[in-house]
């Protein structure tokens, strides 16, 4: 039996009839058509599918779309406002925090939550908070720098 779901994604209301087994990540990618959220594994390890549900970083491959009924969702496509990159996006660009780009949307959204909770994270804290996000290209060095850059610039903006 299909269920109707209604949620806002990046400020836009979405409502569809979905099968219960439809994972939120596939709903976002295939039904809504926002392909910036990626699927890199099937066991909730890689974090490429990380999005924000009601402000919290969540692996959208481990949530059914029906569970997100009524939620407010932000994906990577919704982070820049009016064409201005979010400081975390800018940080990843400035500090070369990405190579192939596949893990990047999840990394950025994981970093978003990290900096909300810990605006001035230590290097150790950054690394620990990235436990749920794998990158095979950068060796994490420049991802740490990117988040440090963002932290400094977000503090300056406040």
């Amino acid at each position: 039996m299909k269920h109707s779901v209604k949620m806002t994604i990046n400020g836009q209301t979405q409502s569809h009839e979905v099968e219960p087994r439809l994972l939120l990540v596939h709903y976002i990618r295939e039904t809504v058509g926002l392909t910036g959220t990626h699927v890199g594994c099937d066991t909730s390890q890689c974090g490429a599918c990380t999005i924000l549900i009601n402000g919290q970083a969540v692996k959208s491959c481990t949530v059914f779309a029906v569970q997100a009924d009524g939620a407010k969702i932000t994906t990577i496509e919704g982070l820049a406002k009016n064409g201005d990159l979010h400081p975390i996006q800018q940080g990843f660009w400035e500090k070369h925090g990405l190579q192939c780009g596949f893990c990047t949307p999840g990394m950025i959204l994981a970093a978003y939550q990290m900096l909300e909770r810990y605006p001035k994270p230590s290097e150790e804290q950054i690394r620990h908070q990235l436990d749920g996000n794998l990158c095979r290209c950068t060796g994490y060095h420049n991802i740490v720098k990117a988040i440090q850059w963002a932290s400094e610039h977000m503090a300056g903006a406040k």
Partner: protein, 788 residues
């Protein structure tokens, strides 16, 4: 950060132009593609490592709602074996059908494909395909494959031996061992790895029945090679009616070089059902079917003089090739391995003997470094073993043996001629960064407090920029290894570059536009880089073996040179000067020494397309094509060091410092090169400490998910301290050697050497098997204590 208006762009850390799309979620990867009428494929795979395929019952599966078609191996009439692109003398080449027909030979070997209206339906129906499996004994262990009584995998390969190969001078090595003051011998297991690019493999195949055109979007590092292999060898369809597009690709590390079963089957099947088909690998499928890397079992012996000079190296290796020959599999444990055993040292004699074996495991092929990490690991492990035997300092023994600085060629004992090198300089720089003397003092102090601190080194040499077609052809390559570069100057002076190299993280759109803008003195914004589309690009051999900047970049450089030469003729005509008197300076064609007598680049471009006032006999247009085939490999080198602390209670290894000096020749964009070094180091550390594909004896892959196979995470790694020395290569005009694999090659031995050094006070001089898991280290400590 430099801006695009600085006079020289080469050597500047310019921010990547591909990033805006990636950081905003607007990259376009294969799985993002959705076409009208799309169908979805799911493969039915063998759950057994070795089994005869009996009856395949499709009744229930075909009745499943939404199923469009199901094909088994027997349906694939006219489809040939997946080809092996590198043939060694007397290599046994067993058939490799895209869908197994009679026998499945590894867990994951595909036997049928289900195509359905939705992904769910395809997967549901695939579960309903009933196969009668007649399970046979499996053999998985590298060292056991060729043993008597091992299950026979292919009829054409008795005792599961695919090839026996050797290089070097056995007699000279024997002689060296007879005269040597000291010899050391070790057993070395270089374990099997899984590349694990973050983007799983995927393809979309679309046949247009009206035109007969087939388009394949595929996660490929080399779309032209994919097209050539698939059309000419497997499917027998016309190459010019096939377009292969590799859009944004989320990392490759070798695993996306090869022609795989799935894209071949989908390309065949779309012609049958006349609808587009998408297939995307799950991570579990990726573990089972992406070509694996490494997997060597080696006995190595080193002979030395009393004062530590290397007299001889003897190597016997068994290399696991898996169940079938993947595209370039035979080259990896032979010409990319045995030829690198000279390292950066003067060696009296070398002999290397390699046996390639089939097993009931996933096929093994090139993974970042491919053969060269195995060679470097062996040499660097053995030299530290020798240092212990000789009671020499590990830095000292290296210094004693370095090949002295040279600028034009060094002939090794294993066929290669190195291009240029200054190995001692890189090592000295490393010692300085490390503050070697001080770190040894700190180590001694820590040891007094019972702490197990270790310092490990590695040096490495890499044959990359792969490479001269004639040479690789004589060694068995079935392809040339040049690269193409087209530079198209538009009438408005804007430029599109078409390169056969493919970027899947390397940042070619930035580095190549940087190169072109630098050489032509135009803004980077005026240069567009097109890659990854056989419909647009002349031809290409793709990206692997650290070849894009040095080989692909040089092809572009050659086309730029041709553009300039043609431009000089046009400008000379406009200025009523002689073409021989012209030069190209700061974005304009000018009479030599007279900046005032000049025509800007844009005006020459326009004139070429509006040739009203134009040189007699000169073709209009401003577009040049070049194919560059280098005269030699390039040989980056470097020295890395690692400092670790071992928890003696648990065996856990903590990285305290990682220091690297690499020499990749000239550098286009230091930020990008540093980034590749970082990532390479992480993968090398991963091999040393955490990663490893483990099979049960029955052939089940027990590290088959990301929950089991330990990829490095952010909190397992330190910040890296990286520097460079610069020794340009004389091989290509850009002086670029290649930077994609250095970190991976260097890091593994540096880390293992550091761990062994930490355990030195306990009498440990070697640990046979990687990864150095906590348990393995703990057991080593325990055994060492027991032995004292």
């Amino acid at each position: 950060m430099a801006t695009a208006t600085d006079t020289r762009l080469l050597g500047k850390s310019i921010k990547r132009r591909e990033d805006p799309r990636f950081i905003t979620g607007r990259g376009s990867y294969t799985d993002d593609l959705k076409l009208p009428g799309m169908t979805y494929a799911a493969f039915v795979r063998s759950p057994h490592a070795h089994a005869k395929i009996g009856k395949i019952d499709l009744t229930q599966a075909k009745a499943h709602p939404g199923v469009v078609a199901i094909f088994t191996g027997k349906d694939l009439t006219g489809v040939n074996s997946l080809p092996c692109g590198w043939l060694l003398p007397e290599l046994k080449v067993p058939p490799h059908p895209p869908l197994a027909v009679d026998t499945a030979r590894y867990v994951g070997d595909p036997v049928a494909v289900v195509i359905a209206e939705t992904q769910d339906a395809a997967l549901d129906a695939a579960e309903k395909v009933k196969v009668d499996w007649n399970v046979r004994p499996a053999v998985t262990a590298t060292a056991k494959a060729a043993e008597k009584g091992a299950s026979q995998i292919h009829e054409v390969a008795p005792a599961n031996v695919a090839f026996k190969w050797q290089i070097g001078d056995a007699a000279a090595v024997d002689a060296a061992f007879k005269t040597a003051a000291v010899t050391v011998k070790k057993h070395i297991v270089n374990q099997r790895l899984v590349a694990n690019a973050m983007e799983p493999r995927a393809c979309v195949a679309r046949f247009d029945a009206a035109t007969g055109d087939l388009t394949l979007w595929v996660t490929s590092q080399n779309p032209h090679v994919h097209r050539l292999l698939m059309t000419a060898f497997v499917l027998g369809i016309p190459e010019h009616k096939v377009r292969v597009i590799a859009p944004d690709v989320g990392g490759g590390f070798g695993s996306k070089i090869f022609l795989y079963n799935e894209e071949t089957v989908c390309s065949w099947a779309t012609r049958q059902i006349k609808r587009p088909i998408r297939w995307t690998s799950t991570r579990r499928e990726a573990f089972q079917t992406d070509a694996h890397g490494r997997d060597h079992v080696t006995d190595a012996e080193l002979a030395l003089s009393r004062d530590g000079k290397i007299l001889g190296l003897r190597v016997k290796t068994i290399a696991n090739l898996g169940a079938y020959l993947s595209t370039f599999a035979p080259a990896v444990p032979t010409y990319l391995y045995g030829t690198l055993l000279n390292g950066v040292y003067e060696m009296g004699a070398i002999h290397c003997d390699v046996t390639g074996v089939f097993t009931n495991t996933t096929p093994v092929d090139a993974y970042r470094g491919a053969g060269r990490p195995e060679a470097a690991y062996l040499v660097e492990r053995m030299i530290e073993v020798a240092a212990v035997a000789l009671k020499m300092d590990v830095a000292e023994i290296r210094k004693k043996n370095f090949i002295p600085k040279f600028e034009h060629g060094y002939q090794t004992k294993v066929a290669l001629t190195y291009d240029s090198g200054n190995y001692a300089a890189a090592f000295d720089k490393l010692l300085g960064m490390l503050d070697y003397r001080k770190i040894r003092e700190e180590q001694a102090a820590a040891r007094k407090q019972g702490k197990l601190i270790g310092v490990g080194f590695s040096t490495y040499i890499e044959a990359c920029s792969i490479a001269p077609s004639k040479v690789v052809g004589s060694l068995g390559a079935q392809a040339g290894l040049y690269e193409s570069g087209i530079v198209r100057v538009h009438p408005t002076g804007k430029i599109t570059v078409f390169t056969g190299s493919h970027s899947h993280g390397q940042g070619h759109e930035t580095t190549f536009s940087q190169l072109v803008a630098d050489e032509l003195g135009v803004p980077m914004e005026d240069v567009e880089i097109v890659h990854g589309d056989t419909g647009a690009i002349a031809f290409g051999m793709g990206t692997y073996g650290s070849r894009s900047a040095s080989v692909g970049g040089t092809a572009i450089h050659m086309s730029i040179h041709k553009i300039k030469e043609k431009g000089k003729k046009i400008a000379a005509h406009l200025l009523e000067a002689s073409p021989g008197d012209m030069e190209y300076v700061n974005g304009q064609f000018q009479v030599k020494g007279f900046p005032g007598k000049a025509v800007p680049f844009g005006q020459v471009a326009l004139t070429a397309y509006v040739p009203h006032n134009y040189p007699e006999g000169l073709e209009p247009g401003l577009e040049e094509t070049s194919f560059y085939d280098p005269s030699n490999f390039c040989f980056p080198f470097g020295a890395h060091a690692c400092v670790v602390e071992v928890d003696r209670d648990t065996g856990h290894v903590k990285l305290l410092r990682y220091v690297a000096v690499d020499d990749v020749g000239n550098v286009i964009n230091p930020m990008i090169v540093d980034g590749m070094v970082h990532g390479g180091i992480a993968q090398g550390v991963g091999q040393a400490l955490w990663e490893g594909a483990v099979y049960e004896d029955d052939g089940q892959l027990v590290t088959g998910t990301m929950m089991d196979y330990a990829l490095p995470k952010a909190d397992m790694l330190p910040m890296y301290e990286t520097e460079r020395t610069v020794t340009p290569t004389p091989v290509n005009p850009l002086g670029i050697k290649g930077a994609g694999e250095t970190g991976t090659i260097a890091a593994t031995p540096a880390v293992v050497n550091a761990v062994v050094d930490a355990l030195r006070p306990l009498g440990v001089d070697h640990i046979e098997t990687m990864p150095l898991t906590p348990e393995r280290v703990w057991k080593t400590i325990k055994a060492a204590k027991a032995g004292r």
